[in-house]
């Protein structure tokens, strides 16, 4: 059975672990509260660029040695950066977990060499170009900026070619020293591993990091509810993104919000599915709930032919109006609940799947939540709670961004 452990080092670094001795693997993650929202406009993109630079090594290790150290232990490892955090993770066989955790801990104090910075800048700009060729991502990024306006959550995670071009290694070092403080990160571990050995290896590598006091000021934000569009010559389809106000990752209504997003916009069987996908009006229609630190959104995405855009929006507005008028019904809630519960079971059977929930719960709530607690919270949501949430949120008012082909192209 799962056993939970927690320890806070004297410098503020938190270690958490959920041991499952029956697992065939283990996963470890370093969760850092450093994302696009923690940047200024001038250094936009630095969190993500810094994530890349951590793989370039320390005073002791160069980039090739880092890669070899991970690969020689068969680690499946990577990192991602969002508006709110940077997460470094690895899934490994149990015998390598301690080595890999020690390696990650070491990498959290990177060399940030100028020549690595210069080469990696090219890779970052290629990543920006790749996502420009991925309209589903591009329209979401643009819509997020529009939705959040001046609020820091509107910053692009990747930054722009312009901000990346002028960013200096010095600016990155300064940002690093302000965000990668021990009290601003959590080390989480799941699966088959020895907790005591984990504590020893993390303490050895990071116990001497000086304590700092780093935080984040939270401001709730309902969104600008503006509308914008852009045309691109390479597109053939219309890509529509809508953002509605949601609830935060700390809000008790987040379970109801998550169920609501499935009722409205799951891949199968949702209102979007029957009204739009089943009728072949769109290739894709989805709604996802995005709980964040002190704020929240629902993001909706539709991809359709250019002659269908107006009709699709009429139907979506009708769905929002119906929800405001009549709410959801019991059958819809039961289906959504069953989907969430089976997804929880399937995801948590693999240590890497479990790691993400374990780490995020601690980052957002500062507490441990067992799988059983999450299951109970999902089961406890009633139709009335979802409908009261719908009344609170006013889905009919949203931010909209449309990416379309250049006319006449």
């Amino acid at each position: 059975m799962m056993e939970f452990h927690q320890k806070t080092l004297s410098n503020g670094l938190v270690l958490i672990g959920e041991v499952n001795p029956a697992a065939k693997s283990a996963a470890v993650g370093f969760f850092v509260r450093a994302g696009a929202r923690d940047e200024t406009l001038q250094i936009n993109g630095v969190s993500h660029f810094l994530e890349h630079m951590l793989f370039k090594g320390t005073e002791r290790l160069n980039a090739f040695e880092v890669n070899e150290a991970f690969d020689s232990r068969g680690a499946q490892f990577n990192a991602f950066t969002s508006e709110e955090q940077t997460v470094f993770y690895a899934a490994v066989l149990p015998e390598y977990l301690i080595d890999i955790t020690g390696l990650w801990a070491e990498l959290m104090r990177p060399a940030l060499r100028d020549d690595d910075f210069t080469i990696e800048k090219n890779v970052i700009k290629e990543e920006i170009a790749m996502y420009q060729d991925t309209p589903a991502f591009d329209v979401m990024d643009r819509c997020r900026s529009l939705h959040f306006g001046e609020h820091p959550c509107g910053r692009s995670v990747l930054g722009t070619v312009e901000t990346i071009d002028v960013l200096t290694a010095g600016q990155m070092r300064e940002y690093f020293s302000n965000r990668y403080a021990p009290n601003n990160m959590v080390v989480a571990c799941t699966g088959n591993f020895d907790w005591d050995r984990l504590v020893v290896v993390v303490e050895a590598a990071s116990g001497r990091w000086p304590a700092q006091s780093v935080g984040r000021t939270l401001t709730d934000f309902a969104g600008t509810k503006q509308s914008a569009q852009a045309a691109k010559p390479n597109l053939k389809r219309e890509h529509i993104c809508l953002m509605n106000t949601g609830v935060s990752a700390q809000d008790p209504r987040r379970f109801a919000a998550s169920l609501l997003s499935l009722v409205v916009g799951d891949d199968y069987g949702s209102r979007y599915y029957w009204e739009l996908v089943d009728k072949a009006l769109v290739e894709e229609a989805s709604m996802h709930f995005g709980p964040m630190d002190g704020a929240g959104i629902f993001y909706n995405y539709f991809c359709c032919g250019t002659d269908n855009g107006a009709r699709v929006m009429d139907i979506v507005n009708g769905i929002f109006r119906d929800l405001a008028r009549g709410g959801i019904i019991e059958e819809e809630l039961i289906k959504a609940r069953n989907k969430v519960l089976s997804a929880l079971v399937i995801k948590n059977e693999v240590p890497m799947g479990r790691l993400v929930d374990l780490g995020f719960h601690w980052m957002y709530l500062g507490e441990y939540r067992s799988i059983e607690q999450d299951v109970e919270s999902v089961k406890a949501v009633t139709v009335d709670q979802v409908n009261s949430l719908i009344r609170d949120l006013d889905l009919n008012s949203y931010t909209q961004y449309v990416l379309a082909p250049t006319t006449g192209a």
Partner: protein, 410 residues
């Protein structure tokens, strides 16, 4: 727990496979129907894709809505896809709902309504999917690559062609569904928590009466052109290239896998090191092994801004060629550890195991145990891989680019 593979063959020849997994509450199943895109007649590309949507639009006693509600009510996560040889219908769910899920899938495969009124939206959705690919150059380049690399019809687009989709009729699609879905050549696999006897009894009563159809073997034609450029005013040139190698059931298979892993297994692999770490040419670059029963290849993708496209392609082909000149012992060790770790970690997922045992059986006529795979990987040496590469050099590249600029090939 000692790994166990369950197997039962129905009297009509349909094979049922299972792998029980300790400590899981989930179960996943896959049904491989001999209805892949290569088996569709000329002029009917895309029919398999349309059928895979159409069958869920009403089956048995349920109309489209009721069937969708019944599947959703089981909390089931559907996975349908089309490959060259098969149509794959599968799902993952909590194990207590397995029998009900199998009954519903029995209806979908054996008693789909395939009504005229549901044909148009089913076809319409696939047409939407096909148009959507125009805005997804990263996906499209690999579809166009396989089409040219494999001899026709093996590499056909699994989405379909617009002309074929537009001329496809409900009558024709219904005839194809009747011929290809209801077949004892289907392979059923299940992994996770299940009762194999109960599964076999249920599937025997559902599928036991199907009779084998006579089928002429696939007539395999020619491969496509060596280089194709598709103009696209995007930000990057998307490069796909593919070269032939040993098939899944060939003697050199494990050497080929080790070679691909040295080339592109982890971040210390050759392509990542030379293309991204040293030169900063790409964000995304990588090569993967891909095998059909009839042919196999190593498929590589790279995306880069137009001015770097030629250098990217040249460096990649250079790395493919350099491999046969020598591999360091440590490189091979990392490749082997990576392959073994991935194997064990995938074995924790019921969906992954169910898919693997089904495809093993199709390719080999038996299921490999994890121990067998591990020992085959462990037996690779620098000499065995170099010897394989000497006998099967990487050459005969097929290249496709999508983007604002062409490259020179060869």
């Amino acid at each position: 727990m000692e790994q166990r593979i369950d197997k039962y063959v129905l009297p009509n020849g349909m094979v049922l496979l299972g792998e029980p997994m300790a400590g899981v509450e989930s179960v996943a199943f896959d049904i491989m129907l001999p209805a892949g895109v290569a088996w569709m007649p000329a002029g009917c590309s895309g029919a398999a894709n349309v059928i895979s949507d159409w069958v869920f639009r009403g089956a048995g006693s349920r109309d489209s809505h009721k069937l969708g509600d019944a599947l959703d009510g089981l909390g089931l996560h559907r996975s349908s896809s089309i490959g060259s040889s098969h149509m794959y219908l599968g799902a993952a769910l909590e194990s207590s709902n397995l029998a009900q899920a199998l009954a519903l899938y029995g209806d979908v495969i054996l008693h789909p309504h395939l009504s005229d009124e549901q044909f148009e939206p089913a076809r319409g959705l696939i047409v939407e999917e096909l148009h959507g690919l125009d805005d997804e150059p990263r996906q499209k380049v690999m579809i166009e690559l396989r089409r040219r690399f494999y001899p026709d019809p093996l590499g056909r687009s699994t989405v379909g062609e617009i002309d074929d989709l537009q001329s496809l009729t409900a009558v024709k699609a219904r005839e194809l569904a009747g011929r290809h879905l209801n077949s004892p050549r289907s392979i059923f696999s299940v992994a996770g928590k299940y009762d194999f006897d109960a599964v076999c009894r249920q599937l025997e009563s559902l599928f036991g009466r199907q009779q084998a159809e006579s089928l002429s073997p696939l007539a395999v034609g020619l491969r496509g052109p060596k280089y194709t450029h598709i103009p696209h005013e995007g930000a990057q040139v998307h490069i796909g290239l593919m070269t032939p190698t040993a098939r899944f059931m060939d003697k050199g298979y494990y050497d080929a896998r080790a070679a691909v892993s040295v080339l592109s297994g982890g971040m210390s692999s050759r392509l990542f090191t030379e293309v991204r770490e040293k030169r900063g040419l790409c964000y995304a670059v990588g090569a993967k092994y891909h095998s059909l029963k009839e042919a196999a290849g190593i498929a590589c993708y790279a995306g880069t801004t137009p001015d770097k496209a030629q250098e990217t392609l040249d460096v990649i082909i250079g790395e493919f060629n350099r491999l046969a000149q020598g591999i360091e012992e440590q490189e091979l060790q990392r490749a082997k550890v990576g392959l073994k770790s991935a194997l064990i970690m995938q074995s924790e997922s019921s969906s992954s195991r169910s898919g693997s045992i089904g495809s093993d059986y199709y390719m080999l006529g038996r299921v490999r145990t994890l121990d067998e795979i591990k020992s085959r990987i462990e037996a690779r040496t620098v000499d065995s891989v170099l010897d394989f590469l000497a006998r099967n050099p990487f050459r005969d590249f097929t290249v496709v680019t999508i983007g604002p600029k062409e490259v020179r090939v060869g």
